[in-house]
């Protein structure tokens, strides 16, 4: 993990980003996916690495590297990796528009979701961009008694433009190696 940037965010900025996340979560829980999509920058890279259990590198014993979460993540690596999901703007759009179709059978009637966003950390970057870390917990209830809790963290790059924050990059680190909820085709 990288050390905290020398630049620290003031509380006003942190609060602004937290408010952005709460609003985002509310829009998604209220199924206002198109309003949520307006918060997405056209350059979006929305990815969910595959989480797996690799053979540990014994050379790294007794160092933090030995237990690094990053070593458990299969990322896109150009075209050399197999993440669960690696979407651009168009794919993100497809995911937000589909649930509104009457014959989107898996989501019609829709699941009930409740997102909780916490552990927000903000690092200002150059050019009006921010790196932000957060944790999420999403309660998902569907088909009567199907109740699941998704948990994970998010590593975002947010961009400030015309007084509006937008998501440029989101990486979702899920806590499951074997996905135990009905679908990962949700917005985290």
């Amino acid at each position: 993990m990288t050390a905290m940037s020398a630049k620290t965010a003031d509380s006003e900025l942190i609060s602004r980003i937290e408010q952005f996340y709460y609003r985002e979560a509310r829009l998604l829980d209220e199924r206002r996916f198109q309003q949520w999509f307006a918060l997405v920058d056209e350059s979006i890279e929305y990815s969910i690495p595959t989480r797996y259990v690799p053979q540990p590198d014994f050379q790294k014993q007794d160092t933090e590297e030995f237990l690094s979460v990053d070593s458990e993540l299969e990322r896109a690596q150009g075209g050399r990796g197999a993440p669960l999901r690696h979407d651009g703007y168009l794919e993100t759009f497809a995911r937000t528009i589909r649930p509104f179709k009457r014959n989107a059978w898996a989501e019609s009637p829709p699941p009930r979701t409740r997102r909780f966003i916490a552990n927000v950390e903000v690092e200002p970057l150059a050019g009006g961009e921010y790196r932000a870390y957060s944790n999420f917990q999403m309660f998902y209830s569907h088909n009567g008694a199907e109740n699941v809790t998704y948990t994970g963290s998010r590593r975002d790059i947010l961009k400030d433009g015309e007084g509006q924050l937008r998501i440029c990059r989101r990486e979702v680190i899920i806590d499951w190696d074997i996905i135990s909820g009905p679908t990962m085709a949700l917005i985290f």
Binding site: A76, G78, G79, A82, L84, R95
Partner: protein, 434 residues
């Protein structure tokens, strides 16, 4: 044999009430019965060839992947002799798993409990306590149990727990014609990328298998929000789509395009794909007729199923295995396959084609897994045991294909599923030692 007693259970099955003689009806119990599920583990998963890994995952000696054969955990590893060995992942001392990770390269596996050491290919290397006691041990007997049969075809590694099983070649028979049409289509071959995408689905293991054996007609219905019935791709499926069964249990769901169809028609699997990707696919099509055969060139595939639980989605480049866990639970493993020689930007586009629609985060497959788990809930309604599921669509329409190996039925004919259950019945109830 009627009224067969399932091993270790008090339930007696009347075979005749499970399946209609022509397989036009299949009982709900075939999916939800615990006793049948237990019997399947012995009579299907211990007696057939099962897919365990892809050769591209085992490049050098010491490379290994953890896999399953039914419920049996196995390690598939490349030995120092370059040969692939499959052994059961359970310590001969007290049964712990000795390989506790998904994949990698290792010199040894060390069992946590008393640290007996094993090669990735299963041979016992040492027992620390025996050394201290000055005892010698029967290394052969105390190695991991070796899976008796391993064989590869088209880069796919299969294994069988049955030492007397027929050779893989005979087992696949004419299905190899359809496998070749996909796995040898791309010059340079295909490779599996990364670890599999794994998820639990609350369904019976046979449902995903059945779906990818030949349920080519469901797309416009279940996936109607994404593939509307009047879309050009669905019109093409209704016009040219067939399912071919070379032998019961295996099947290929394909579009068999006219002999004068162009490489452009054959290569455009997803008309809304980026132009560079379509161009790449079309370029591949230009040489298929010479490299394979004119008939294989006309195949625009959709899915392949290899009995009992391996499936391939052709246009989405994904290979998958339905691992049974309980009558109503599977662990579904899905790998992204890609042409070895495809340039990086093409690989990225192919991956998008897979992950947006399929795998645990796919918006198409989310509907399949929904349907499969709902089917299990329906199968669990005991009151409806007198109302078996209807599998009779298209009955009798199927016939030997004039140009391709196997019996062919048009889109919506469910003969591929009827022949799957024919094979299933033979495995479960014929020649069974009671």
């Amino acid at each position: 044999m009627n009224g067969l007693q399932a091993a270790g259970s008090q339930v007696a099955f009347d075979e005749a009430s499970l399946l209609a003689p022509d397989y036009s009806y299949v009982s709900r119990e075939v999916f939800n019965s615990e006793a049948l599920y237990r019997l399947e583990q012995q009579r299907i998963f211990e007696r057939n060839w099962l897919y365990v890994a892809h050769e591209s995952q085992l490049g050098k000696p010491g490379d290994f992947v953890a896999s399953y054969m039914g419920e049996v955990p196995v390690i598939v590893a490349k030995g120092s002799d370059g040969k692939v060995a499959v052994s059961v992942n359970s310590c001969p001392h007290r049964g712990l798993r000795v390989c506790r990770v998904d994949q990698g390269n290792a010199a040894r596996f060390i069992c946590p409990y008393h640290t007996w050491a094993f090669k990735p290919t299963g041979e016992l290397v040492g027992i620390p306590q025996a050394q201290k006691l000055g005892e010698s041990v029967d290394r052969e007997r105390l190695s991991l149990k070796r899976v008796p049969r391993v064989a590869s075809v088209f880069g796919l590694i299969f294994a069988s727990l049955d030492p007397d099983i027929e050779p893989l070649d005979t087992y696949l028979g004419d299905q190899k014609f359809y496998m070749e049409a996909f796995f040898d289509r791309f010059p340079g071959g295909l490779e599996v990328v990364g670890p599999p995408h794994k998820w639990q689905i609350k369904c019976n293991w046979k449902l995903p298998v059945e779906n990818m054996l030949g349920d080519i007609g469901h797309a416009a219905f279940l996936h109607g929000s994404l593939v509307p019935p009047d879309s050009p791709s669905n019109v093409e499926i209704e016009q040219h789509g067939i399912t071919v069964v070379p032998s019961p249990g295996h099947a290929a769901a394909i579009r068999y395009l006219p002999s004068d169809s162009s490489p452009a028609e054959r290569g455009a699997h997803n008309p809304s794909a980026p132009p560079e990707l379509i161009e790449y696919m079309v370029e591949v099509e230009r040489t298929v007729a010479e490299r394979l055969s004119p008939e294989q060139a006309r195949i625009k595939g959709m899915a392949l199923g290899i009995y009992p639980n391996l499936s391939l989605l052709w246009g989405q480049f994904t290979l998958r295995v339905s691992h049974p866990r309980a009558p109503g639970l599977i662990e579904y493993w899905s790998w992204w396959l890609t042409p070895v020689e495809a340039p990086d930007h093409i690989r990225q586009m192919l991956r998008t084609g897979y992950t947006v629609g399929f795998g645990p985060a796919g918006i198409i497959e989310q509907e399949d897994s929904y349907a499969w788990s709902q089917q299990f809930l329906g199968s669990d309604i005991r009151y409806l045991n007198d109302r078996p599921y209807y599998y009779g669509l298209g009955m009798g329409e199927e016939s030997p294909h004039p140009e391709l190996p196997g019996v062919s039925g048009r889109c919506y004919n469910e003969h591929y599923a009827r022949s799957f259950y024919q094979r299933w019945r033979a495995d479960m109830f014929n020649g069974a030692q009671s």
